[in-house]
């Protein structure tokens, strides 16, 4: 199976039909889904109907875009009208949104076929995709390993050919970590680039929707499709659109790249570390000037992130009351309103979600707000200033995407902080509202995917695409066919 844009080119040239392309994906799903569990909801019949309709619109010339006919998987925290949206949680059991997210509307308008909703850590809280009420997704490269999280179902679906391309969401690395673990490209856009209307909120100051694909080009085209201001999301911004074609052909000649050596030194895996150094060499060979530098705050970014994310999550998740939608505990005689709510929440949320709600409520509580939440906001401002200084010297920052290859299932079961610390490379981009991309960088000695991460200044996704395409061209990316 080819990348989404290449497949859509074949559809446009009438060498294959949308239905044939879809059936190829459905065949992969039949072969692999039982082992991998990428999806929470599959909509085979709906997809077949969409494929026919889209083919007719391609035939009559009303659909001409680069992703017309692409089979897309959507993370289960993004609303697709009339398909369940569980967020990987019992708390949202039975919730079928009566509306489309803005990104879903954009997929439909562009002629994408929505095949289903992908598995994820509950409410996007996790780095392994094991915190799903519906069970873990397994890594297509080695089913004894995790996919990374929280958008693990989307990453695995793309890697295994169970979708041509997917949407994920990224609050602290939830697109880039699973992309790294599954050998696909994951792009977290600038905060504000893509509307979050219809994205079920985790931490509103950090959440962003983005693409996961088998090539940099796929992610670039999907980013163009998703971007733009939306009156229904006051944080979305109208910014100059990314010219994907120009960005992909730009190369890196004349660009300056800062390799964040303080973050690189935190990487415990020599092969993951070497992948970053090799990427630096490739960029240098392609004409970029690469310098080592210290970004700073490496000791602080994980605590800053978890204070802010947990606090915002505790507030956002207050809406789950067992009344308006989702899970409601059975009624008991004498039960009052507060008990109904507290019991529904206690029974509906999983362990990691409860932990973050409790910590978030604590850091927002009277007496502790200044010491934790306000302090973290101030530290976030200082981190952002560090990035401003870095981007006054460099066009791009290079660092690891993940501390290691995909870990074995269950490794972090009793090591909460160990799992949190693994987010050190990805949370910085969310805290500074920057665009960042995880790019495959070959495989390790066991054949497991390695990856590197590039970051750019706000709304400079074009530079990520330019450098990502250069790295892709120079090897390391071997998943055009899916595995």
């Amino acid at each position: 199976m080819l990348s989404a844009t290449k497949t859509c080119s074949l559809i446009k040239e009438r060498r294959i039909s949308t239905t044939e392309a879809l059936e190829e994906v459905l065949g992969r799903i039949r072969d692999r889904e039982e082992d991998l569990h990428c999806y929470i909801t599959l909509d085979e019949e709906g997809a077949r109907q969409q494929a026919k309709l889209i083919q007719s619109r391609i035939d009559d010339g009303s659909l001409k875009g680069p992703l017309a006919g692409a089979v897309v998987a959507v993370k289960d925290n993004i609303c697709v009208r009339d398909l369940p949206a569980t967020c990987g949680s019992k708390m949202l059991a039975g919730f079928i949104p009566p509306y489309d997210a803005t990104v879903t509307e954009k997929l439909r308008d562009a002629g994408c076929i929505i095949i289903g909703k992908t598995n994820m850590d509950e409410f996007a809280m996790g780095s392994t995709c094991e915190n799903s009420y519906f069970g873990p997704t397994k890594n297509p490269y080695d089913t004894s390993r995790v996919t990374g999280g929280s958008s693990g179902g989307s990453a695995a679906a793309v890697a295994a050919g169970e979708a041509m391309i997917a949407l994920g969401s990224d609050t602290g690395g939830s697109i880039r970590l699973p992309a790294a673990c599954c050998g696909v490209v994951g792009l977290k856009p600038t905060y504000g680039r893509v509307s979050r209307y219809g994205l079920i909120a985790y931490a509103s100051g950090l959440d962003q929707i983005g693409p996961m694909g088998r090539s940099v080009e796929d992610c670039g085209e999907m980013l163009s499709l998703l971007s733009g201001a939306d009156s229904r999301d006051a944080t979305s911004r109208q910014w100059e659109a990314v010219d994907t074609g120009a960005a992909l052909g730009r190369g890196v000649k004349g660009l300056t790249v800062g390799l964040a050596e303080d973050y690189l030194s935190l990487c415990p895996d020599e092969e993951a570390k070497n992948a970053v150094l090799e990427a630096a060499e490739k960029l240098r060979d392609a004409g970029a000037a690469v310098e080592h530098f210290s970004l700073g705050y490496e000791k602080y970014v994980v605590p800053i992130y978890y204070i802010l994310a947990d606090a915002q999550a505790s507030s956002n998740l207050e809406r789950y009351d067992g009344i308006k939608y989702g899970y409601r505990t059975p009624f008991e005689e004498g039960q009052d309103f507060g008990q109904l709510m507290a019991r529904s929440r206690g029974e509906g949320f999983g362990g990691e979600v409860k932990r973050r709600i409790l910590v978030g409520s604590f850091v927002l509580s009277a007496g502790w707000y200044d010491a934790y939440y306000k302090k973290a906001l101030a530290a976030q401002a200082l981190l952002r200033r560090c990035f401003d200084e870095a981007f006054s010297k460099y066009d791009l920052i290079l660092m690891p995407a993940a501390p290691s290859v995909a870990p074995k299932l269950g490794v972090y079961k009793d090591d909460i902080i160990g799992a949190y610390r693994g987010d050190v490379f990805t949370v910085t981009a969310n805290l500074a509202q920057l665009p960042a991309m995880s790019i495959p960088a070959g495989v390790n000695h066991d054949g497991l995917p390695l990856a590197v991460q590039l970051m750019a200044d706000r709304f400079r996704e074009d530079l990520l695409l330019a450098a990502g395409a250069e790295l892709e061209k120079r090897g390391g990316h071997e998943n055009d066919e899916g595995i």
Binding site: A234, T235, K324, D336, K375, L382
Partner: protein, 96 residues
């Protein structure tokens, strides 16, 4: 200086969070919260006097919309989302 998180604190925070926990969950939550907050306490050693609260976005570039009435005839579809609905209403226990 923060006291070690105990079950009393967990009970207080779970009440704030409207979260009913089992006895076993309360015991585990005390240890888990302590571990998480200890990890976060490292921030107390960071001088943040120069830090300003970061605005989530630039106010002058907000996406604003006209304050106009738009389609709101969604009662039926919203009621279908509720786990329990009867006669166009969502039944709840007595609130007062």
């Amino acid at each position: 200086m923060r006291q070690k998180i105990d079950e009393e604190t967990v009970a207080y925070v779970s009440k704030l969070s409207q979260l009913e926990l089992t006895a076993e969950e309360k015991r585990a939550a005390a240890a888990d919260m302590e571990e998480c907050l200890t990890m976060m306490d490292i921030l107390s050693g960071l001088d943040t006097r120069d830090g300003e609260e970061l605005l989530l976005y630039d106010n002058d570039q907000n996406v604003l919309r006209e304050d106009e009435r738009v389609g709101s005839d969604m009662a039926d579809s919203l009621l279908r989302c509720a786990p329990l609905a009867e006669d166009g209403l969502i039944p709840v226990p007595k609130t007062v």
